[in-house]
């Protein structure tokens, strides 16, 4: 079933406490190459049938209205993944 993937990230200027906690844990496990971590959200919207332009437009609208809060987050990616 084809799906539309939507990626949402906190805006760069918004502190990401979860990312900071992960960044603190990485070196304890020996992963020392990473300066910082930002944690985001990935949504997968499943479509029964072909993903038309109209459906993709709906997904973009949903991403801006429900899936993200434009005050603190950016929609960084909306793409169709066909299996």
């Amino acid at each position: 079933m084809p799906r539309i993937v939507v990626d949402v990230m906190l805006k760069p200027e918004i502190l990401d406490p979860q990312g900071k906690a992960i960044a603190g844990a990485l070196p304890r496990l020996g992963f020392t190459s990473f300066e910082a971590v930002r944690q985001g959200k990935r949504f997968e919207l499943f479509v029964d049938g072909e993903v038309t332009d109209e459906i993709l437009a709906q997904a973009r609208e949903a991403a801006e209205t429900l899936l993200s809060n434009p005050v603190i987050e950016d929609v960084v990616n909306v793409e169709v993944v066909a299996d």
């Binding site: 429900l66 809060n69 005050v71």
Partner: protein
Amino acid sequence: MSTELPLIGDYSTPTTQLSGARIGVVTFPGTLDDRDAARAVRAAGAEAVSLWHADTDLQDVDAVVIPGGFSYGDYLRAGAISRFAPMMDKIVDAANSEAKLPVLGICNGFQILTESHLLPGSMIKNDHLKFLCRDQLLRVENNQTAWTNGYEAGQEITIVLKNQDGQYVADEKTLDMLEAENRVAFSYVGWNPNGSRRSIAGISNEAGNVVGLMPHPEHAIEAGFGPDHRGTDGLTFFTSVLTHLVGGKK
């Protein structure tokens, strides 16, 4: 009309509703503090009216409290799904109308009000990532709103703070605007418990009819059950709105 008998105190005289005011308390799936909010409304002398998130009838209430809890489990973002409830459409319209319905959002209610864009900014996880429950000292920064007119300007009050997503954030321009327009209603005093920008605990809209804050005034309305077992500093929220409704606002 039922009246609430406080569990302690001198109640030798029969209690009656002190005003004809009707204050709605909205319940969403996952709301926790609606009963306490309704009790606070009654303790202030008004009638509490239960409002269900899926209904569209505001039942002619004079003001609305959006209580705390974890509506929709805080899935997606705190308040994000509740914001689209049919009842919220009615509340947003009424708050923005000429009648300027007074609306108080507490904790998750505050998050719902920011998601609804009735109030600017948003809440993210506490900077220390832990759930926090404590008696919290606040300063009343603006006593000119519908929900704070009974306080003295600069008064320090103690009410309960309990949340995980309590860090208030907004861009610098919005924060400057809130301060310039005297719309910071409450600040944290001393230690900033969640990393909120400029120690903001609560804000109001431009007209002062909509107020949101993370701490819980409804848990500090009754001697014996509030902070330090005696604090009743939260009751003034609910008496303030009655003063506002009878036109006695400062």
